[in-house]
């Protein structure tokens, strides 16, 4: 079921555009030009509210404060005023995120997705990223359910990347975590270890090299 985003934006051109972008991204979008009529019924079934801070008849932040009296729906605040005070007040009143105009559609969608993404609270001993699975307790890794033979360092490197799938991890962070600081804890040896892991994983581009940073475990969710 598509997630439902409610947009409160008084600029017609922008409101229509945002609806279009959200629908293109496979989300359900509704749009109100004014927030004066927002109540508990309006927010029923809404997964995210995109709230313009400057609405014609009501201040967006006042509306946010009011909304928080009956709803915990995530709110993304939009503002054309790049004011720290607005941002700080917005977050204090219970906004989950904010965006400053102008922004790119991708920028907007990325932020909407980040807010809609359910936080994975359960901390399991088993990490799964695409075809890769790692049993932390047993310290064993599987590729498509076939066990991989990894050294201690290799497993630690893979685990570090798998803990934050899709995120680039710096070479220093990887070296600090996986390599023996007393031994050949050199960032150069890191490349050797990574190329061995890649070989064991097959030719799949599971581990990406990130220029200027380090490595990343490609995540399917990264569109």
């Amino acid at each position: 079921m598509a997630r439902h985003v409610l947009i409160l934006e008084d600029d017609r051109e922008l409101g229509a555009q945002l609806v279009r972008h959200l629908e293109k991204a496979g989300l359900t979008a509704s749009w109100m030009e004014d927030g004066a009529t927002v109540d508990a019924d309006t927010l029923r079934g809404v997964d995210l509210v995109v709230l313009d801070i400057m609405l014609p008849s009501v201040n967006g932040l006042d509306l946010l404060e009011y909304m928080r009296t009956f709803s915990d729906v995530p709110v993304l605040v939009l503002s054309a005023r790049n004011e720290t005070a607005d941002k700080v007040r917005g977050l204090k009143l219970g906004a989950d995120d904010y965006m400053t105009k102008p922004f790119w559609p991708d920028e907007f969608l990325e932020r909407v997705r980040a807010r809609l993404r359910r936080p994975t609270l359960e901390r399991s001993d088993r990490l799964e990223v695409g075809p890769l699975a790692i049993d932390r307790a047993a310290r064993r890794a599987f590729l498509n359910d076939r066990p991989l033979t990894l050294t201690r360092v290799e497993l630690e490197l893979l685990l570090t990347l798998a803990e934050r799938p899709g995120a680039a991890v710096t070479r220093r962070a990887l070296a600090d975590r996986a390599l023996d600081p007393d031994g050949d804890g050199d960032e150069r040896t890191l490349d050797v270890h990574v190329s061995r892991i890649r070989k064991k994983l097959g030719d799949r581009a599971l581990i990406e090299t990130v220029w200027g940073i380090g490595y990343r475990l490609a995540a399917e969710t990264d569109a």
């Binding site: 922008l14 720290t84 400053t100 790119w104 991708d106 934050r164 220029w211």
Partner: protein
């Protein structure tokens, strides 16, 4: 305290010359009175025939003493004083003999009518001697003196100041003939020009503590003139007069000055405190005005000045606020159509290449954000920038902001943040724009196929945020100049890719305002650029 000391010193400085003048004046009048008295006494004696006969008989030894009255000059008349010592005392009489003496006696009495007759009239004894016949009174020694036998101090010897403490000595006389020559060996020489006096007397210069008068003896030949010499009470001989009651007003004045200055000083202090408080409050509080005197006028003048400054400040603040509001409103107004434009461009970009148009719109937005931020940076913000800023979220926002344009320019952009929360105290808008400017430049001046990496790292209680690119970079000497405060080349504002990009001066100012470190390095072997912002983490 200083003011009180100044007032006291001023009072003393004014009083002392006044006292000195009083003393001098008092001394002169006492001298004259003593002269009058001495002359009257001598002339009174001269009216006695026996006295005159003795004088005529042996002027070479006659001193008039055996019949001398009991110390005329020794009697210290309270209202009299002798000359101040510095005026006469150090000069021997004969050296000043040719000086024209004050011929007081020559003047007719009516010309000096302002003086009591008994003080100047010939032949009349002074008040203190009234009732004492001169021929009888002369028999006794001067009262309280050092005896009749006491030699007249200073007579005959080298003239000098009389010994201190010797308040009384007998009157001494020298006889002179009509040509003012005296057979007496100790008699001082007198100029003959003085021989013109008829009645009355002439006062002559004398040593300190002494008075000398010359008067004519009626009918005398060898004793035609008599020089009378007597003492006055040495008033300033190092010993203050017995009564110093006249000093009381002076002391009272001094006390009054000290007492009245206390509340004055207190008020001035309060005024100072008030002015300082007014300045400290940015002239919001007024200056307290109390009373209705000059000090109150000063306070009112301060208050008026403070009000004027306040007024000017308010006007300046008002203007500044109006300008800032204008910039803010304009920014707001521009951002909405710009967002829409960017949306359209992004949609178009999926069909045909409008990458350049996207970059321009992106550039325009950045320019306006920097314009808005520059207005804020120039404003004097009273509140410190002390909100915790989540740097990982900041990096994420900046990354997302520039990714669409980077993609359209075929520049690969990536970011890495630590899993732990990484926060710094500051202004999120300013910091975000500072980082955004650096990333914008890294993308804008890179070439197709280039890379940009935003890396946030933390090490104990410090963070490091680096933006690395593999673009053309900046030569070392230019890098140093770019970090100089206030440096702003025309290059920095130019649109050309050869320039150093927009907003680097804004970045520099924001980083400086947050007391963070900003470094520019080559990314690798003089290629590319690494911009590093570092500082302490919020605890």
């Amino acid at each position: 305290m200083k003011l009180r000391a100044q007032l006291t010193i001023t009072t003393i400085a004014v009083s002392l010359p006044m006292i000195a003048g009083l003393v001098v004046w008092d001394d002169g009048s006492r001298q004259r009175a003593a002269e009058d008295e001495l002359a009257a006494f001598g002339q009174g004696l001269a009216s006695s025939a026996r006295w005159r006969a003795r004088c005529e008989a042996s002027p070479e030894t006659w001193r008039g003493r055996p019949e001398g009255p009991p110390g005329h000059p020794g009697r210290p008349p309270d209202e009299h004083s002798d000359q101040p010592p510095h005026e006469r005392g150090d000069q021997p009489p004969h050296e000043r003999g040719d000086r024209p003496p004050h011929k007081r006696g020559d003047r007719p009495p009516h010309e000096r009518g302002d003086r009591p007759p008994h003080e100047r009239g010939a032949g009349r004894p002074p008040d203190g001697l009234t009732g004492r016949p001169p021929d009888e009174s002369g028999a006794g020694p001067p009262p309280g003196g050092h005896g009749t036998d006491h030699p007249p101090h200073g007579r005959g010897g080298p003239p000098g100041p009389p010994p201190r403490g010797q308040h009384r000595r007998p009157a001494a006389f020298f006889a002179y003939d009509a040509k003012l020559a005296s057979p007496h060996p100790e008699a001082p020489a007198l100029p003959a020009s003085l021989a013109v006096i008829a009645d009355g007397y002439v006062s002559l210069p004398a040593d300190r503590g002494l008075v000398r008068v010359l008067f004519r003896v009626p009918g005398g030949e060898r004793c035609a003139f008599v020089l009378a010499e007597g003492t006055t009470e040495p008033w300033l001989g190092g010993v203050l007069p017995p009564t110093q009651a006249w000093l009381l007003p002076f002391a009272a004045l001094l006390i009054a000055v000290v007492l009245t200055s206390a509340p004055l000083v207190g008020r001035i202090r309060r005024l100072t405190t008030g002015v300082e408080a007014s300045v400290a409050s940015g002239y919001v509080t007024g200056v307290p005005t109390e009373g209705n005197d000059e000090l109150a006028n000063l306070a009112r003048a301060f208050d008026g000045a403070a009000r004027e400054v306040r007024h000017q400040l308010e006007r300046a603040e008002h203007r500044e606020q109006a300008l800032r509001d204008f910039v803010a409103n304009t920014t707001h107004d521009v951002m909405i159509p710009l967002t829409v434009l960017q949306g359209h461009l992004a949609e178009l970009d999926q069909q045909t290449s409008v990458g350049d148009a996207m970059a321009e719109a992106h550039y325009l937005g950045a320019l306006i954000q920097n314009l808005s931020l520059a207005a804020k940076l120039d404003a004097v913000e009273p509140e410190p920038l002390a909100e915790p800023v989540d740097l990982a979220a900041l990096v994420e926002r900046v990354y997302n902001r520039h990714r669409p344009v980077a993609r359209s320019r075929s520049v690969r952009i990536d970011r890495a943040v630590p899993p732990e929360p990484t926060a710094v105290l500051g202004d999120v808008t300013m910091l975000e724009q500072a980082v955004s400017n650096v990333v914008h430049n890294a993308v804008r001046y890179n070439t197709a196929g280039g890379h940009v990496a935003i890396v946030l790292e933390r090490d104990h209680d410090r963070f490091t945020l680096s933006v690395v690119d593999d673009g053309p970079g900046i030569p070392p000497h230019e890098r140093e100049r770019l970090l100089e405060r206030g440096y702003r080349t025309t290059d920095a504002r130019t649109r050309s890719p050869e320039g150093h990009g927009i907003g680097l001066d804004i970045t520099q100012r924001v980083i400086a305002k947050h007391e963070l470190e900003l470094e520019l390095d080559a990314a690798e072997e003089e290629r590319g650029l690494r911009v590093t912002v570092a500082g302490p983490l919020a605890t």
